[in-house]
């Protein structure tokens, strides 16, 4: 869900690709590459920086993943560290700690998705129905702002409010509750805590994409529906929600791609407070073993597993989207 910033781009990219395909159509195979290069050169130039960025920071570091198949030694480097085949993975798959982190990741992600995903949509519809432009601007500013706070700050604010010495507990203690529950350190409440942190921080920001999609729905549809006697609920059901369907499916798929990597910072910061039992996810697991305890190969193996699983998830979700006739990540004929 931290991927929100890439969403508009991806959406635009999908549009672009779709447009390109439509234009080139069946003639594509016959156009020589030289001509196509000339025709698309400004488009290619525009994507070049993004491709370079991805190459340097996305793909090049992946070469380091070879250490997952080595018993990597800091001082021997990649070239001289002994190869161990799948030994790291064998150890990983028999490590109860890893499976615990894996289950945790899925549970935490599902709860977050379930609680978080509808909020920006609802928020967007609500805001869209406001008539006063001024009020819209103010509300949009207020709900978007937390996106720019770092996780440290967000969690500190929650700590000040809900922590053991925070506002709520101090109030309760002064009013006769001897040992009030500390929400920040309660492993049972953790799932809901992280979801509410995410909603508070990101819902406003994620709403923007939906607002844009709402703006793209032609007002004449609403007018026609109103003339036909459709009420608020019917307009919502038959015009607004279908208008948001495409973007919703796209974002859902992208979210699944981040299912296993989400919330690294959020979990790491709260790992101590709530304990690894409740908060350990695969990314913090890889960090704990790879960086903190210096077992680089083991951490890399966990990381590689995570990457591959994420890829499978995102491809599967995309496939499902196509089956339902949606575009998903790219247009499917």
């Amino acid at each position: 869900m931290s991927a929100t910033t890439t969403r508009p781009q991806s959406a635009a990219g999908a549009e672009q690709r779709r447009a390109g395909q439509a234009k080139a159509g069946p003639a594509r195979r016959k156009t020589p590459w030289r001509v196509r290069l000339r025709r698309d050169r400004s488009l290619i130039l525009m994507t070049l920086p993004a491709v370079l960025l991805l190459g340097v920071f996305g793909y090049t570091p992946m070469l380091g993943l070879v250490m997952a198949f080595q018993s990597y030694d800091l001082y021997d480097g990649f070239l001289h560290s002994p190869w161990v085949g799948f030994a790291n993975f064998q150890q990983l798959f028999t490590d109860p700690g890893f499976w615990h982190a894996f289950t945790n990741t899925l549970v935490l992600f599902s709860v977050q998705l379930l609680l978080f995903f509808p909020v920006p949509i609802a928020l967007a519809i609500l805001l869209d129905s406001l008539l006063s432009r001024r009020a819209r601007g103010v509300i949009q500013g207020v709900v978007t702002l937390p996106h720019f706070f770092s996780w440290v700050m967000v969690i500190t604010i929650f700590q000040q409010m809900l922590g053991g010495t925070g506002l709520l507990d101090t109030f309760l203690r002064q009013h006769g509750v001897a040992n009030p529950v500390n929400i920040m350190t309660d492993p049972g409440a953790f799932k809901f805590l992280v979801a509410s942190q995410l909603i508070w921080k990101e819902a406003g920001w994620s709403m923007i994409v939906y607002l844009a999609a709402l703006a793209a729905i032609s007002p004449s549809l609403y007018e026609a529906a109103a003339v036909d006697g459709a009420g608020w609920w019917q307009r919502l059901r038959h015009i607004t929600l279908p208008g948001l369907k495409g973007i919703t499916v796209l974002l859902l798929i992208l979210n699944l791609g981040y299912a296993l990597t989400f919330g690294f910072e959020q979990m790491l910061i709260q790992r101590g407070a709530v304990g690894p039992n409740a908060s350990e996810v695969i990314t913090t697991f890889a960090y704990q073993f790879g960086i903190v305890e210096g077992n680089f190969s083991y951490g890399a193996a966990a990381g590689l597993f995570l990457g591959v699983t994420s890829l499978i998830l995102i491809l599967a979700a995309n496939k499902v989207a196509h089956l339902f006739g949606e575009d998903g990540l790219y247009h499917h004929k």
Binding site: G272, A273, G275, G294
Partner: protein, 568 residues
């Protein structure tokens, strides 16, 4: 944190973030008595150094006695100075540097000063005759930057690496691959070219020897290094009419906690004092230090039966609501603030927490602030208390292997300057900066100016320093209290197994060794048990897991070392 002699304003180091590691991994450093190898190939950098080899290369010891302390060293305690000399003696006559430019990375438990226009850095560099660009880094996360520095080949010319953080670095191999061998410059009488370095305690030098060579320059050497003390707010306890409470056993501590706990007024009895419990419950430091059972078999700290008693005791404290909720949440960053503001009355912290800068910060929060420590005791109340000594120092700086011979010599001369003894001109400059700009001399000693408070940070002294002394100009009461406490309590220090031996197990055992700390994943279970979120059974299965994943093999390896080189 052991840097008790460093009264700079902001150096209130937070030892908590790593004291667990310190106690556990401290041994990791091990000074060196044993010899290389234990049957391992010498080239791989595993094994240890034998006593005879150490004797061959040890730097000569030429003590210096510039001024006489008011509180002399007793059983190795750090000497205490209540006054500051007004005539500053020069101990280094020549400008040490040749105009070279170097970089240094050190941990800092205070806000990082801006390097641009920094009068302190400028003044020290001018005196050094070299440009030593200091890059202090947040001490609470310092252990996390070390592995990337090594793996990414980003080591500076000079770096501080505390011994309790060397385990994940596979340090026996690291020294040979990345760090400069100082044996040709410092062994035997050669060290006498650097008289201030020759005055450092031999025990500390020994702890810097790895695989038959001198690598580490000892920093803050002392003959009484322990994990820390159990501190209490003497002023608040006195106000509650408790005077100076006598803690004779662990039940006394619990009962005292019950008496002073007052959550309704935001005042809790305890911080997370887990590490302090190692002393009364007689839990040894983690591997590379070990304990033995009745049969003489080696036991790691968490294999001892008493660790379970300690966990149960602290879990009882948590359950009774006597631990500050923020401490339960493991917010270690603000632990000192909680103690200063009286939100918790009993805490654990490193020895270095007890100094003038702490009193200054505490009094800023609460005018009557007084920190004192409970003398060592045993959990049962019977028998003589004991506390495990860490090596001659836990702090070492290292030079980069890529430096040329002349550069190494230049930096050793700089180190000699930085290690000038307490009360000298050089010590005053390195500790307090430029006279008039950074500090002014008052009747009690140097006092930092507003500029000094912003710019002077404990940086250079993490690269080289004299033997530790207790001195906090303007805070004589604090110095006196600590000096007297150490005089009375240093006698309880004992050397744990493999004390002062740098042992590098083969790479295959490295992970088991790195995992054998209270901050690593297995150790996390202890915190979970204490907080009531895991059970003793969970802990026991985590220990079994550790034994299976190399812990038992590590024990066998140390058995070999013990058979071949002894264990102290």
């Amino acid at each position: 944190m052991r840097a008790a002699h460093a009264p700079t304003g902001g150096t209130s180091m937070n030892r908590r973030a790593f004291f667990g590691t310190a106690a556990a991994a401290a041994g990791a450093v091990a000074a060196a008595p044993l010899l290389a190898g234990c049957g391992q190939s010498g080239g791989s950098g595993t094994g240890t150094t034998s006593q005879s080899e150490i004797e061959k290369i040890m730097p000569s010891y030429v003590p210096s006695n510039l001024i006489k302390p008011q509180y002399a060293s007793v059983d190795g305690s750090s000497p205490g100075f209540l006054t500051y000399p007004t005539t500053l003696v020069h101990t280094v006559r020549e400008v040490p540097g040749d105009g070279g430019s170097f970089t240094g990375i050190t941990p800092l438990w205070a806000s990082i000063p801006s390097p641009s226009g920094n009068t302190y850095y400028a003044a020290v560099n001018k005196a050094l005759g070299a440009t030593l660009t200091m890059q202090p880094s947040n001490g609470n996360t310092y252990n996390n930057i070390l592995p990337p520095l090594f793996s990414g080949n980003k080591l500076p010319d000079w770096i501080q690496i505390p011994t309790f953080w060397t385990a994940p670095l596979n340090f026996g191999q690291a020294v040979g691959a990345k760090l400069a061998d100082l044996t040709p410059y410092l062994s035997g009488d050669k060290v006498k070219q650097y008289p201030n370095l020759a005055a450092l305690f031999p025990g500390a030098w020994q702890a810097g020897i790895w695989n038959n060579k001198i690598y580490g320059i000892p920093v803050f050497p002392t003959e009484f290094t322990v994990a820390g003390y159990l501190y209490y707010r003497a002023d608040i306890l006195a106000k509650k009419g408790l005077g100076t409470p006598q803690i004779k056993n662990i039940d006394d501590l619990y009962n005292l906690g019950k008496e002073i706990n007052d959550p309704k007024n935001k005042q809790w009895a305890f911080d997370d004092i887990w590490t302090a419990l190692l002393q009364p419950f007689d839990i040894p430091p983690n591997p590379p230090n070990w304990a033995t059972n009745d049969k003489g078999d080696l036991l790691a700290a968490w294999e001892t039966p008493q660790i379970i008693e300690a966990m149960n005791w602290l879990a009882k404290v948590v359950k009774a609501g006597m631990m500050n909720p923020d401490a339960i949440a493991q917010d270690t960053n603000s632990a000192k603030q909680r103690f200063w503001s009286g939100q918790e009355l009993i805490t654990f912290d490193g020895q270095g927490a007890w100094l003038g800068a702490d009193t200054q910060s505490g009094q800023a929060a609460d005018k009557s602030y007084v920190r004192l420590a409970f003398p060592f005791f045993t959990a049962s109340g019977s028998g003589t208390p004991k506390i495990a000594l860490a090596n001659g120092t836990e702090w070492f700086s290292y030079l980069n292997k890529n430096l040329s011979k002349s550069q190494i010599e230049e930096l050793l001369r700089v180190a000699n300057y930085l290690a000038a003894p307490f009360g000298s001109y050089e010590y005053t400059l390195v500790t307090f900066g430029a006279p008039a700009t950074d500090y002014t001399m008052s009747s009690t000693g140097p006092v930092l100016t507003t500029t000094g408070n912003k710019q002077v940070a404990q940086t250079y002294s993490f690269l080289a320093s004299p033997n530790q002394v207790l001195s906090s100009p303007g805070y004589a009461a604090t110095t006196r209290a600590r000096a007297v406490f150490e005089q009375q309590n240093a006698k309880y220090g004992y050397k744990p197994l493999f004390y002062d031996m740098n042992i590098s197990p083969p790479a295959s055992l490295n992970n088991a060794m790195a995992a054998a700390t209270f901050t690593a994943s297995t150790g996390n279970i202890i915190q979970e048990v204490v907080r009531g979120r895991s059970t003793i059974a969970d802990f026991q299965s985590a220990v079994k897991e550790w034994q299976r994943n190399g812990g038992n093999a590590l024990r066998t390896y140390f058995d070999h070392i013990r058979a071949k080189y002894g264990d102290a």
